[in-house]
Amino acid sequence: YYGKVIFELSRPGRQGYSLPSNGCDDVLPTLPAGLLRQNAPQLPEVDELTAVRHYNNMSTNNFGVDTGFYPLGSCTMKYNPKINEEMASLPAFTSLHPFQPSATVQGALEAYYTLQRMLCEIGGMAEFTLNPYAGAHGELTGLMVIRAYHESRGDTKRTKVIVPDSAHGTNPASAAVAGLKVVEVKSLPDGTVDVNALRPLLDDTIAAVMMTNPNTVGIFEHNIPEIAEIVHACGALLYYDGANLNPLLGVARPGDMGFDVMHINLHKTFSTPHGGGGPGAGPVGVRAGLEQFLPNPRVVKHSGDDDPLFHLDFGTEKAPHALGRISSWLGNFAVELRALAYILSLGSDGLKLAGTLATLNANYVKESLRDLYALPIDRVCKHEFVFDGLANKSTGVTTLNVAKRLLDHGFHAPTIYFPLLFHESLMIEPTETESKETLDEFIAVMRDIAREAAEDPETVKNAPLETPIRKPDDTAAALNPVVTFAELD
């Protein structure tokens, strides 16, 4: 047993809590028995120290950004500043009920409003909503905005979305959830969208074209002005997936490139912690003319003398075309506070530097390894780049092997087998918060692995060798899913 689950530490009669009495009579017994549960749930019974040790020690089986280098491509694993955690934990924010009257939450509303305006400036957009909970939720919201726009014009034929073949899986999946059909457009060998392949796909059934720029192989889509022109010419809107915004901070804005709708992953570009898979946040921005389609509620600022200054707009009056509500309230508010703290900390100068250094770090790693790893697209990259596995294909060592061998050396693995453009994709995104020394160590290990693959391929194929667990049986897990403690023998 690598680690017991908490149920295995449970003993009847232990307890890890205590509650104050409120001196009121217990009324549960007076409720109709048929409306109450028959058996207590099987939950652990542990004292406080048992729980503390359990989760404390469990945490040490995890690797985070604070542990070491985490070059997971497309995920922007940059440093998450501690001050942001502290600010988001101020009781005057954490204790607010969402339905408190606006007059009692002016600070919170101003935080939301301020971040909204900052994102507009950064994205080159007219308006933002912070309500979506994650990147994929932002995509869905953005596509709904686009559909609302077309519907408002009575343009109901537009039922398709074009996505590049290099796109992240959330793009087509979001389109499907939004009730749109997906049409894939091919990429050129240099990784950019093939404008000539795109042109014939564009007709009056196309609601939107989804792109990310730089794209998932880290290449700037330099044809974007032309693409924007032909997309708009056919009456469709251009959607910007903000997953890769980081390298463009301070340099170029999606709005200026011709994108109509966009989302931003606050947990990537604006450094909110990834939390083992969320909570993130996926604010959605729109260009002028599309504001009225954003979801409700919205935070609005009244004119100068009004008190209170910030209000909630639920949409009926001002935005009859709004797409409705896509989340409980104003999104993952505490995540938004962290992003606000980050943007304030960096400021206009720091943001530009972040983008530039992220790009520098990626190119540095690329140039330092290109002789040993296959570089299918040999161009200046942005925040990330993709190798197609080892250059020497004769060893039989796969990208998976390389990734696992990296674990043995104390690094998190890059993203592997994505994008789907290449068979052996190994997608590396160092981010700007990594030092040259860290990159040099990573480069040295990657070079060692390449050498080892040639000289002793079996060792690499058997990797990882040093991790506390090795080669879990994924097939067995999927064949006979055991997803709860009750199902364990």
Partner: protein
Amino acid sequence: MTHRYFPHTPEDIAAMLERCNMKSLDELYSDVPESLKLKRDYDLQPQMSEKEVRDFFEELAVRNQPLTCFAGAGFYDHYTPAVVQSLASRSEFLTAYTPYQPEISQGTLQYIFEYQSMMTQLTGMEVSNASMYDGTTAVAEAMLMAISHARKRNRVLVSATLNPIYREVIDTYARYHGVRVDTIAEKDGVTDLDTMREMLADGDVAGVIVATPNFYGILEDYTGVADMVHAAKALLIMTAPASTLGVIRTPGEWGADIAAGEAQSLGMPLNFGGPYLGYICCSKALIRKLPGRIVGATTDADGQRVFVLTLQAREQHIRRDKATSNICSNQGLMALYVAMYLSLMGAKGLREVNELSAAGAHYLASRLVETGAFELKYPDRPFLNEFVVRFKGEVKLADFVEVCNSCGCLPGVMISEDELLVCVTETRTKEEIDRYVWRAETFSKATVPAMNGGVAANEMSN
């Protein structure tokens, strides 16, 4: 130029540019057409020191007014043990991402497995995913599961007693996904089961969505409903605030196919709306329709029991436009909150939470009625810790709410001009409840209408 978050010295930059055969940082952007480049700085302030950031937030914070909370309406002021926040802030949990590399991610994988185990116990269902964004989107995705499961049928019935913000989100998802949503009328605060039966008979129903406790706090009796729904080949989707599942009859016991809802009540602070956590559990038969990540147990090369992400073939990164959902990042860390909260509380603690909450709520309800200022809207319906009162005073309920606010109290959520949805949790003391009652008494006797008639009252939706 430098920044505390960036390690690059001028020497580093020079050496790195040289490796890249570049002369300046500008060359890194040689691929960006000049016409697209921002020729100015962002119209934002320059970088702030940490002290200034702190001052900024503290200045915002003083313009918030934390209130003694008698509001619920889906989000509850339960007590979170200090252990939860303390352990959840461990950087190994906080700064990791999706556990793609199980060898160095057993921490995340294991707490998700524990979370899944606990949520299935609470809901009485067989399987759970790793979390959804929140309750509203969890129920909306449950609806999409039903639609996907039904294949051709395209209609969903939703009880009028469901929390209206859930309904709004369902409507949004349904509208674009091409789902028809029909409302099952309510009768005296509960779902009208006769109407439901008739609507099912109309056919084309893929799923039925009901709640208990419902939006008014009423415990509904769904005896026979599962059979009725299943007879129509539809799926029964039930929702409840997760904490109440410690004592109320579970979706599993009612025979539901999917349990989905909000788990904020299991240890998450109110946080002005998020992050929260949506739960979604279902029968094992539906597991391949279940959206999002799922963690499963398996063994490793050394025979150790370990945990991995499993059944990923359902997910967006594999299935793309055929996926069951587009969800990718979810609310991972909040699942850790739930796992730790339920570990500490156990079944007994969760029962006590509900006992104390219900006891306080029933005490407040009867005392409020005694003041003469309020009457219960549904006096004959059983409720747990949330109830609707109708204001009988001469002045406006909004004014009462405002007076309470100015005294540091949030007396509930106004759901109409004269109706207040009131909630009591275990964090409310007898003194706080009595002060509420005293305020109601005083206010109802006051002949002068409330002070400044400014912007009033709680907003939930307009």
